[in-house]
């Protein structure tokens, strides 16, 4: 084999294990060696589990294989988890000082299911503090670098997860997507990122940012892995009242190499004036390819979508202002020293503990919910949200999927947008509407510009991840872009 196991997609790991061509320990050692090599440059992780713990998990998989046990779908697959998901015994800091020292006593449902599927967890990945950001520059710990260009951001907030998968450190990762936090870094890092339908994956154990928008999903090397990971983590959970009882189909079985009989809409609003020319041309080329694959492609309109960003930046901070109220220094995490009373302790803990972006959003959200302003801001934003849902519903009555860019531009340079929060918020323009409507959407590479990956977003009907995955898979197979790897440190190879 000419490609080291760390570069394999998960389905290849499974095949090789089943065929006895490799051991889970070898796969894990390969990933750990890769981490040693590139992590100092990339900085994808906030916390790495002890080497011996990782290898012990891999050995357990090998022992199961030796016993002749049926291989679970992600057996021996090295996985990374965004640091806002609880894992028993691994710090879940959310890249915030306010959660310093907090080690969850329980597993998030999605993490538990990933473990049950045989994945070998490597550690917790870097992110924007409490998932608030689009570049991972708002991590209280360190920045993560884009493996395609170390001078650029990996996107965010699941920037560490996307970078780890792109750099070969982890085969798969779990991220969370509130306004694009899986899809945007996937696009910037040239990986596949899937935000499932709201309610498809349990949020139990995901540290809440905006509860009505948050959804856990996979970041993977290719579409098939996305289907595998989604199948492992999806499904009803009695611990999450918003997690649907909807049955989870066999997503892998939905993958087909053509788009015959499918209708794909191109919403004109997603290709608005702010879209970079290279993004526009690559999305148009992707649309042509989908047509070649048998899809009926036509333009369509989502008239309310231009207001999505405004509605999102009221609703998400409003929910966040309430969700983050629990970080008061009383029960866990950081507590400001030497305070005379509760009010002082509370104020100082939060003042020291939260970074400027989190503080800004808490203030925005608190204001939007205040008596006298509720109707004007929060109430209004909910009305816009309803209209956006109706727009999508109408468009998806005509089309099976909608396609467009994931981001208006490729990955930007460090510091390019940190000075102006509104500029940073604008990078979510193509993704937030999908969260407001609760729909499934996937980003996959559709081209490169100056060596930087560009992302194609495929949006589907609620609960219809199958069609999204089918379209993405057909495109991926025809475009043959997901096998390109970043030209990073000692990994000079392109493809396999």
């Amino acid at each position: 084999m000419d490609v080291a196991p760390y570069e394999w997609p998960a389905h290849q790991v499974r095949r090789a294990l089943a065929a006895g061509q490799v051991s889970a320990r070898k796969v894990a050692e390969s990933a750990l060696r890769r981490i040693d090599e590139v992590e100092p440059a990339v900085g994808a992780f906030l916390h790495l589990r002890a080497r011996e713990d990782v290898l012990a998990d891999a050995d357990a998989v090998d022992a199961a294989i030796a016993r002749g046990a049926t291989l679970p779908p992600l057996a021996g697959v090295p996985a990374a988890i965004k640091a806002n998901m609880c894992m028993r015994g691994v710090p879940a800091s959310c890249a915030s000082r306010v959660l310093e020292g907090f080690v969850p006593p329980y597993d998030a449902t999605a993490v538990g299911r990933l473990r049950a599927a045989g994945a070998v967890i490597l550690g917790a990945t870097n992110m924007d503090e409490f998932a608030m950001g689009s570049s991972t520059e708002h991590s209280a710990d360190h920045v993560t670098r884009n493996p395609w260009d170390l001078g650029r951001v990996p996107g965010g907030s699941s920037g560490g997860a996307a970078a780890a998968v792109a750099a070969g450190e982890a085969t798969i990762a779990l991220g969370s997507d509130t306004g694009g936090s899986i899809r945007q870094p996937a696009a910037f890092c040239g990986t596949v990122g899937l935000k499932p339908t709201y309610g498809r994956v349990s949020r139990y154990g995901l540290v809440a940012f905006a509860s009505s928008l948050d959804q856990i999903g996979p970041l993977t090397r290719d579409v098939r892995d996305g289907a595998l990971v989604l199948a492992a983590i999806a499904g009803a959970d009695p611990a999450d009242a918003t997690c649907a009882a909807e049955p989870s189909p066999d997503y892998e079985a939905a993958l087909r190499r053509d788009c015959r009989g499918l209708r794909a809409g191109l919403p004109v609003e997603l290709l608005g004036g702010g879209t970079a020319p290279e993004v526009r041309s690559s999305v148009m080329a992707a649309a042509d390819l989908l047509a070649e694959l048998g899809a009926e492609v036509d333009e369509c309109s989502l008239p309310t979508v231009p207001y999505a960003l405004d509605a999102y930046y009221v609703i998400a901070p409003a929910e966040a202002s309430s969700n983050l109220a629990r970080y008061d220094g009383v029960r866990y995490g950081r507590r400001a020293a030497g305070a005379a009373d509760y009010v002082e302790m509370f104020g100082r803990t939060r003042g020291e503990g939260f970074g400027p972006e989190v503080r800004r959003r808490i203030m925005l959200g608190t204001y939007a919910l205040s008596a006298g302003y509720y109707d004007q801001y929060y109430g209004r934003a909910l009305q816009v949200r309803t209209r956006i849902c109706q727009d999508f519903e109408a468009a998806l009555a005509r089309f099976d999927v909608l396609v467009g860019p994931t981001t208006p531009s490729p990955a930007f340079a460090f510091g390019e947008k940190t000075a102006d929060p509104l500029q940073m918020y604008a990078s979510d323009v193509c993704t937030v509407a999908v969260n407001l409507a609760g729909l499934p959407a996937l980003s996959l590479p559709c081209g490169f510009h100056n060596g930087l990956p560009l992302g194609l977003q495929v949006i589907g009907r609620a609960w219809d991840e199958e069609t999204v995955l089918r379209v993405a898979f057909a495109f991926e197979q025809a475009a043959d872009l997901t096998r390109r790897r970043p030209p990073l440190l000692g990994a000079g190879r392109m493809g396999g």
Partner: protein, 489 residues
Amino acid sequence: MGGVGAPAETARRWQTVIGLEVHVELATRSKMFCRCSTAFGAPPNTQVCPVCLALPGSLPVPNRRAIELALRAALALRCEIDPDCRWDRKNYHYPDLPKGYQITQYARPLGRGGELTFAGAGGASRTVRIRRLHMEEDTGKSTHEGMPGGATGVDLNRAGVPLIEIVSEPDLRGPEDARLYLQALRLLLLYAGVSDVRMEEGSLRCDANVSLRPAGSSELGALVEIKNMNSFRSVQRALEYEEGRQAAALDAGERIARETRHWDERRGITFPSRSKEEAHDYRYFPEPDLGAVGLAPAFIEDTRRSLPELPADRQARYEALGLPGYDAGVLVADPALAAYFDRMLRAGAAAREGAALLSVELLGRLNAAGIGVDSPECRVHPEQLAALQGLIASGSISGKIAKDVLDEMLATGSDPSVVVQRKGLQQISDQGAIGEAARAAIAANPQSVADYRAGKKQAADFLVGQVMKATRGKANPGLVREAIARELG
């Protein structure tokens, strides 16, 4: 009474308007949004989990049983039910509020527009409208007890305990009415099986809104909220004090400030609290972690049908059976007593006489011994008491003998017929035997006979007494009287 009485002329000048907000703990074994126990009195922070500790990532899951009990309460109060009612977040910061918000119902409560009818001050029937009934979770408790160096301890055992809040319209017109309403509400919830309603354990808590307005006016005066009233008696006392305080201030031409005041049980006064709760902006918004409560019409109907007979219906049924209102009320006020009485009725007891036997004779003895009717130590079963009443009714024993029989029944647990037989207490109703005893008494007391003949009719009473004495009280007094009259006649 409170320190400041309300003089009669003041009472004529001002009308008191009271509305009550009552929090009731639902009788569930587990909390509203997690599976932790709700048991009272456990060591601090032993009934907690990631959800009620508000650990990052934890999520609430509604307790179906709590929702069912809340629905029972709403139905018992004749509320209009919102099958699509929602959860909201009430945001504020306090060390014993772990999430920094309380999950409650704000815009769409479970119930609206109910009513409760009860016997108000002076026995007059009063109907108080219920504005709303909603579900929420309790907070934890802050304590300084046993904490080193003035530190504050937080106990989260209570955090997340399921509550309902019942808000009345300002329909109450005085402190006594308020207490009677609260007691009627407690009884209703007890009957409906919604709560243990133990005020001393905090499973029923009450805040009051009090204002005074010129008699005849229909506008509300400045609202004063009274907190910390921990018993039915303290509710009435606090409101009497507050009524007097406000009347005196208004009489003196002062304005009443809209504020929250605390009741000081020991000093018998209310005082302004420095709580930050006033003018607080709770920033309510829909709870995104929970969908609509979603009550199916069939579930609402099943719950409605499963409600037992409620106090007002039971009162009406007893009165229809001929019980005086007061006597019926005594039985209805104690569900165990009423259940006992119902078993007596099923065993064939006459309502009026059975009720008297129960609430005067049996209850008197049990109360003296500190035993409840539903306690295993009460050895007289309802069916046995009904049988005793039957023996009296049939003339087998006299009412006087019945008391002795009851004592024996309590001591031994025996059936009344067994006691009567064993002790030879059967009433003598045999005409021949009674006639013979009457003749014997007349023969032995010629002076009384002479007195009777001379017009002293009460001399006959003496002769009846002699017969009763001779038969050790067992002779049927009516028959004895007839026999004496006949023999003297």
